[in-house]
């Protein structure tokens, strides 16, 4: 189909969005040359984590909630640990906090390189996928695979394995890596940091469609550096609140077309979490190398073009590899792999920055540690209204494009968010309807 959509009524649809994590679709209705409706449909079936967490023990959420997402299990493990520890009044010692941060750096490296090279770069370079891209850009794909492998290896080193790490527990870890194991990993990380710097150069040279995102940006702000594990919530309009108040500010709505819940912040229609929000609100906390490459890549202090999220992810790759090296170089062991977290009745909140954005957990515990209630707000359900708003503006400005090209560009626009549908279901299908 090559007809244009400026006249009459049309539907753009993609029934299975490719190169996203999980199952979703896009459906856009154009009525007399005006975009009438945009829906991101999440048909990933519901799995009911929040329901079956009820009645489980306070020690179980790290292993159970990891299974929400094979791409970012550490995010679920970290947010759940923080929430349970908050309910029990425990804070882990500094060295365990740093080891968590090291593990989380591994997940950022793995997840960001997966998205940059295997899921998103093919859009910019004009291929259906990375395997097809490898025929013409073998070095680029190899660079991406090398980075991804380094991230997975770091997760394996600290977490035991890359998908659903076994070494994380409420209170810390089961086993500490030895100083020698960490030191031995140094050369892999140095190579990864070089690859990450080269990645920023590569992706900053891509062509970016013009687009300015008007939404409010929301991210964590932490005294411990660029936001990863913990901190409080801030926004581009000056909102600031503790993670414990998240539920008072963010309300999840259930809409008919989606098995994901849509999050709203203080009654506003949409807000954005993820790399652009993190970078815009926390660029001052990037390491010197990441700041330098961001500057060289032409990124201003605020980045509001969602298509440039791939550049920000690459900058975050530099930061994650650099910080992982710093943690390893300063590592002097820990007195114990974990601290005791005795249960008590109460409510705890935890939020960390998953690769896709802020991930919030809340647990209510009985005196013996039985979970009475669980709430999990993943990044993609927070971003879904913004993805739809972006698409609406994007499609309206491009109705003169041939149908197939417009659909392809819409898919690229959705991938700007690295949507994780598996996470959001508790989440995505593109169809566009001409009425």
């Amino acid at each position: 189909m090559t007809h244009k959509l400026t006249q009459g009524d049309h539907v753009l649809k993609v029934d299975t969005l490719a190169r996203v994590e999980g199952e979703g679709a896009m459906h856009i209705v154009v009525h007399d040359g005006l975009v009438a409706d945009v829906e991101l449909r999440i048909f990933e079936p519901p799995r009911f984590f929040e329901a079956f967490l009820r009645g489980r023990a306070w020690t179980e959420p790290p292993d159970i909630t990891a299974r929400i997402c094979g791409i970012c299990p550490v995010a679920y493990q970290m947010s759940s640990c923080l929430a349970i520890e908050d309910a029990c009044g425990v804070t882990v010692p500094e060295e365990l906090r740093l080891l968590r941060r090291l593990l989380y750096c591994g997940e950022w490296i793995e997840s960001h390189s997966l998205h940059i090279f295997l899921l998103h770069a093919p859009d910019f370079l004009g291929y259906p996928g990375a395997i097809e891209m490898a025929a013409d850009h073998g070095d680029v794909v190899q660079q991406g695979l090398r980075l991804k492998k380094a991230g997975n290896a770091l997760m394996t080193l600290v977490g035991g394995r890359a998908i659903h790490p076994v070494n994380v527990r409420v209170g810390g870890f089961y086993r500490l890596p030895t100083t020698q194991e960490l030191r031995d990993f140094r050369p892999t990380l140095v190579r990864a940091r070089d690859d990450a710097v080269a990645t920023v150069r590569l992706v900053s040279g891509f062509d970016f469609p013009d687009m300015v995102q008007p939404q409010e940006y929301v991210a964590l702000r932490s005294p411990h550096g660029y936001p990863l594990e913990g901190g409080s919530v801030i926004s581009s309009t000056g909102r600031a609140f503790d993670v414990g108040d998240f539920g008072r500010h963010v309300v999840e709505e259930h809409v008919a077309r989606s098995n994901a819940l849509h999050a709203r912040l203080d009654g506003t229609t949409s807000y954005v979490v993820g790399p652009l929000a993190r970078y815009t609100l926390n660029h001052d906390q990037l390491g010197p190398l990441a700041r330098e490459v961001a500057h060289d890549a032409g990124l201003a202090d605020e980045c509001r073009n969602p298509f440039q999220s791939i550049v920000v992810r690459a900058v975050e790759l530099v930061h994650a590899t650099d910080e992982a090296l710093a943690i390893i170089d300063a590592w002097d062991g820990a007195s114990a792999p974990s601290v005791q977290v005795p249960p008590r009745a109460g409510i705890g909140h935890g939020a960390t920055e998953a690769p896709r954005g802020l991930l919030y957990h809340r647990y209510e515990l009985a005196e013996d540690g039985t979970i009475l209630d669980a709430t999990i707000v993943p990044p993609t359900s927070q971003n879904q209204p913004s993805i739809e708003a972006d698409l609406r503006a994007f499609v309206q400005a491009r109705l003169d494009l041939p149908h197939d090209e417009l659909v392809r560009q819409c898919e690229q626009a959705i991938r700007n968010y690295d949507p994780c549908i598996s996470c959001a279901t508790h989440f995505l299908d593109l169809t566009m309807e001409e009425q």
């Binding site: 999980g22 009911f48 984590f49 929040e50 079956f52 292993d63 997402c69 190899q142 898919e411 598996s422």
Partner: protein, 269 residues
């Protein structure tokens, strides 16, 4: 008819398809995590349908289908029959596809109540009362266990199917791997409850090597004596409720684990 479509394809690369049902994506991610083997693999087989990796779709039928995830909706129960119809060999990968996954915890509860806990408008959500493995719906040529699956085992199974031989995947317990690895028995030495004696090998005895008890990611081994292990778990201080929960996680729907968790549930106060 599907067989006729396959005729004449012997000289071509086998066509591989990857399908997703209710799951976390971790098992299909395992394929992308074979960083060193991915490009050579794409040379040996034609990656014909793999939406997580490419928007290009090559029409079926497919020589080998990898299926991730469990069946939890009426439309997925229909879709898996279509996948079977277009697949010469169908291999299920991971705990969701082989036993129903963590989402099979609904099988022990009232799904209507689950729906109302998570969703404000339960009527918008279409779901079945039970999460079921693929084998409950269609014939399956091979089941690869794990939560997540092991990458080496996945490559072995793919190689075996391309070479038309049986995969070399052990069905003995984690204990065997633990001894081979030279890990200390956490149950004997530390009194840590461990599912290793009744859980199929495949992870490399990861948890004991990290000083924790096995929690059953690979599901029951060939001939599991769960009752004998349960007696031991009691000695190690587990009450009925904790014993029920340890059998009721990612492979809760696997028969041996399901039956044992029921016994503990019935005995719990």
């Amino acid at each position: 008819m599907a067989g006729d479509d396959m005729a004449g394809q012997d000289q071509k690369r086998p066509k591989l398809a990857v399908w997703k049902f209710a799951s976390c994506d971790g098992c299909q991610l395992t394929l992308l995590n074979c960083e060193d083997e991915l490009i050579p693999l794409a040379g040996a087989v034609e990656i014909a349908y793999f939406p997580e990796a490419t928007r290009a779709v090559v029409e079926g039928p497919y020589d080998v289908s990898l299926v991730e995830g469990s069946v939890t909706t009426a439309s997925d129960a229909e879709r898996i029959r279509e996948v079977r119809r277009v697949s010469r060999r169908l291999i299920t990968i991971g705990a969701c596809a082989t036993s129903g996954g963590i989402q099979a915890l609904r099988n022990f509860a009232d799904v209507a109540q689950y729906r109302s806990v998570v969703y404000a408008h339960p009527e918008y959500v279409k779901t079945l009362a039970r999460s079921t493995p693929i084998s409950e719906h269609v014939s399956v040529d091979y089941e690869l266990r794990g939560c997540p699956i092991n990458a080496s085992q996945l490559l072995e199974v793919l190689a075996a199917f391309v070479q038309d031989r049986r995969p070399r995947i052990p069905s003995y317990s984690v204990c065997v791997e633990c001894k081979r690895r030279g890990a200390i028995c956490v149950a004997v030495a530390h009194g840590t409850p461990c599912l290793g004696p009744v859980t199929q090998a495949g992870c490399g005895a990861l948890c004991p090597a990290y000083s924790r008890g096995c929690y059953g990611c690979f599901g029951p081994q060939d001939t599991p004596n769960t009752q004998s292990l349960a007696d031991r778990l009691r000695v190690l201080g587990m009450d009925e409720s904790a014993a029920m929960r340890i059998f009721r996680t990612f492979n809760a729907g696997a028969e041996a684990f399901r039956a044992q968790s029921r016994r503990h549930e019935e005995m719990a106060p």
